[in-house]
């Protein structure tokens, strides 16, 4: 939350200006453009509430997810919901989507109290939801996906669906082939399909849960334009985001949730009247509490202070890690992922190499091929000069290679297994925790308790199944496991993805500390500002190739931006 001030703000700042045609001058410190005063006449008061929550409380065992929250979502207004992980945003979406029922309080739609008992009911009430993850069937066409969800007895009517699809496409200004397979579309296009689906029945309230998290800068612009059009038609929009610049660019009204309570709200009039810096300060104060310490840290980030203190890298030495023309074309289990094509890079101890690029341009294969999880189809991989191309994960690990995956629960951990087991998942069978193949559970648990204390992992005990931990704490487990004393080269794939501000900052600090210890690190991220913060050099992946590597110095952003579009690769 509140992350992405630096470079992201620049990209977005420009985009947002285009989108909302803001009439104000936007300075660099005031990177986030404001909501457009001109396009939203002061009829705000007259706008009707499409839906509202009154004193809604939702409890889960041991936790109050929402406590007496009241909110109004008005026609033709974009309402931004901000808050840290666990602040209750997702619960709120799930209440309106019919996935959960409130324990107390009521939900009103068009002024009438309603019980949203199912997702279907939610749709009938005119509520459309676009979730963070895409929920389309990749093997079906666009139109087939849109026709799903009708009553089972009704035959599919292609002509009617096509007409509806074209109506909505025109309204949203998108051009997608209705007969294209969804799996073949870009993520941005898939999201447009999700939005079309959410509006399929003329929904009057559209909820978008972190819609920009996987979009390219261009995709964010397209989305903004689309939302602008919807707003003009009187749709009430609710946007959940982690990124302040986006919140300011898109939002007419901002509500901040903190620990399940409404910490505060910025009315449209107030929001318009504030300068960029004032807004940021106000929102951060609401998010973290006025006296909390992360806010100043966040301001330091805004001021451009970095975690990484500039490595003194001895490039006269042979590189610790070297890739020479590595390709992964045709390796097993690629499932439509972008393979690597002739990637070469060198990395020295104490250095952080950032890897930027739009998701899905080969980053995953890069990480896996270095970790030994994926075989290279061509090329050489060297650790400290020794050829390790043929080695698999165990050999690479012995050589000091570590890999923090972005799929923390998907492959990084075994969810039902204890924290203690997951901490030694990659050491199974090795002494001293195993002797002659016999598990020394006492020792494993003792080891876990030490690590838990050292890395401040918040868990009821070392025996707790790791899936019960929060994302930030799972990541702490992975970082503890991979940045252990034996590590020499570590590759981290999206190390802050899905983490709230504090945990993201913690992860970045840990990366900086590891570099200071002499590790050679590769950090893959789609958040450019984050890479600018931790990296010595930044490489850009484009269609499986390393389009280029630039020193993290002045003008780096612009050069990276050019590389990201593939312009330099041609």
């Amino acid at each position: 939350m509140g992350r992405g001030q630096g470079a992201r703000a620049h990209e977005l700042g420009h985009g947002a200006r285009e989108v909302v045609a803001a009439d104000r001058d936007v300075t660099d410190s005031d990177a986030a453009a404001g909501p457009d005063a001109a396009a939203t006449p002061d009829a705000a008061a007259a706008r009707q509430a499409v839906a509202s929550l009154r004193e809604v409380t939702k409890r889960f065992p041991g936790i109050v997810a929402l406590e007496r929250v009241s909110l109004e979502f008005r026609a033709g207004e974009t309402h931004i919901l901000l808050g840290e992980n666990g602040a209750g945003k997702s619960t709120l979406v799930n209440l309106l989507a019919g996935m959960l029922r409130p324990d107390e309080g009521e939900i009103l739609v068009q002024g009438r109290a309603v019980r949203i008992t199912s997702p279907r009911r939610s749709h009938e009430l005119g509520i459309g939801v676009v979730y963070q993850q895409l929920l389309l069937v990749p093997s079906l066409t666009v139109l087939e996906n849109l026709m799903l969800g009708g009553p089972w007895w009704r035959p599919l009517r292609r002509a009617a669906a096509l007409a509806r699809f074209e109506d909505l496409s025109r309204m949203l200004g998108t051009r997608i082939d209705p007969d294209a397979r969804v799996g073949a579309l870009s993520l941005g296009e898939q999201q447009h399909v999700e939005i079309i689906r959410a509006l399929w029945r003329d929904e009057t309230l559209l909820l978008l849960d972190e819609p920009t998290s996987m979009l390219t800068p261009q995709g964010v612009l397209d989305l903004g334009r689309m939302l602008q059009g919807l707003k003009a038609r009187g749709t009430a929009l609710v946007l959940i985001t982690h990124k302040l610049p986006e919140a300011f660019a898109f939002g007419d009204r901002i509500s901040v949730l903190r620990q399940g309570r409404l910490a505060g709200a910025l009315e449209p009039e107030r929001l318009r009247a504030m300068s960029g810096a004032e807004r940021t300060d106000t929102v951060l104060a609401l998010m973290f509490g006025a006296d909390a310490e992360p806010a100043p840290a966040e301001r330091e980030r805004l001021a451009g202070r970095t975690v990484h203190h500039g490595a003194r890298v001895a490039r006269t030495e042979p590189p610790l890690l070297a890739l020479r023309e590595v390709s992964t074309r045709g390796s097993r289990g690629s499932r439509g992922e972008t393979p690597l094509e002739g990637v070469s890079l060198e990395l020295w101890p104490g250095e952080v190499l950032g890897i930027a690029g739009v998701d899905g341009n080969g980053q995953k294969h890069l990480a896996e091929v270095i970790a030994g999880q994926r075989a290279a189809s061509a090329g050489r991989i060297e650790i400290a000069g020794a050829d390790v191309t043929r080695g698999r994960v165990p050999e690479r690990r012995r050589a000091g290679v570590r890999y923090v995956t972005d799929e923390r629960l998907g492959e990084g951990t075994v969810g039902p297994f204890s924290v203690a087991t997951n901490l030694v998942l990659k050491e199974i069978g090795a002494a001293p925790l195993w002797r002659h193949g016999i598990t020394d559970w006492d020792r494993i648990e003792r080891h876990a308790r030490e690590v838990i204390a050292q890395y401040d992992i918040r868990t009821p005990s070392e025996r707790t199944p790791i899936a019960k931990l929060s994302g930030g704490n799972i990541q702490k487990v992975l970082l503890a496991r991979e940045l252990d004393p034996g590590a020499r080269v570590a590759i981290l794939n999206k190390p802050t993805h899905g983490l709230d501000f504090r945990n993201a900052q913690l992860a970045l600090e840990r990366i900086g500390a590891a570099a200071a210890r002499g590790l050679a690190l590769i950090v893959i991220s789609t958040e450019l500002d984050e890479l600018l913060e931790v990296s010595d050099r930044i490489g850009v992946m484009y269609r499986g190739r390393l389009a280029g590597i630039v020193e993290n110095a002045a003008q780096a952003e612009r050069r990276i931006g050019v590389l990201m579009t593939g312009a330099a690769a041609a």
Partner: protein, 344 residues
Amino acid sequence: MMTLPAPLAMAVRVVAPIALALAVGGFALELLGKNPIAYYGFVLERGLLRPGGLQETVTRMAPLLLIAAGLIVAFRAGMWNLGSDGQFLLAAVTAAGLAPALADTLPRALVLVASLLAGALVGALWSLTPAILKARFGLNEIITTLMMSFLGVSLSNVLIKLLLRDPGTTVPQTRSLPVEERLPRLFDTTVHSGLLIALAAVIGVHLLMTRTAFGLRVQVLGTNRAAAVHAGLEVERLILAAFTLSAALIGLGGAVEVLGVWGTVRADWNPAYGALVVPLVFLARLNGYAVIALTLFFAALMTGGESAARRMGVPQNYVLVLVALVLMFLALIEYLDRRRPRIA
């Protein structure tokens, strides 16, 4: 929602389906005009309390325990070995064919050990096809093991009728192993020492799974294959190892049953223990000790149920009805447990 301490919650989840099944089953008995209390009492007495009944019950446990041990390995590895009937039967026929042939020349101990090992080996071999298909090509082992099971059952009959048929009998069956050549009895009972092998196997598997690196690797594979790849485990070899170990234990069960109890296999004999043991193993949550207790329960139910069928006129299949009811309630309780609200 109230939360129970883990061992207690586990006990509730195991005992509740059984109790509910007995209650609903009792209702069914009432409809048949039988007194459920009298029936259950009779089953209890015949299956557990009378020395003769208890011995029969305990004897029955041996093959069930060995199949359960095999299934624990497979299921913990996330592998649906549903081909236990074929593996069991082929191993039984192998032991039945081998033991009498060797008995003429070799001492008893050697005959038994060789036949037991041969049974285990044949069981393992019969699982190799599904195991390799799974490991190399990711083929669904549910289908391949079931198919191999049908083939195994048929092949067993072919072997009995064509190759191993005892010419001295009218009904096609293998040459009978003399009683004094079979697995030794324990003390002065009718229980054969195969039970000890079975108990050792279940406990051994339990310890293997919970206390060794191999067991942990197998379970990582079974719970999250992607994590196994990520952690650098040799997934293909683990699949082969888990599969063959599973089938070898099941095969051992077939050999023990023949060498301990029957001494021969008749054509078309197929106890189809798989259908009983698969749910039992899940009811026990893949825990070896719970498996022993539940096997005792079901074996007693079978023994007592057979007596009751003769004496009280309740069909013997009623035991299967109870098993089915236990399964349904198990599923229901599992569902209710999962439905408990979680933090979104």
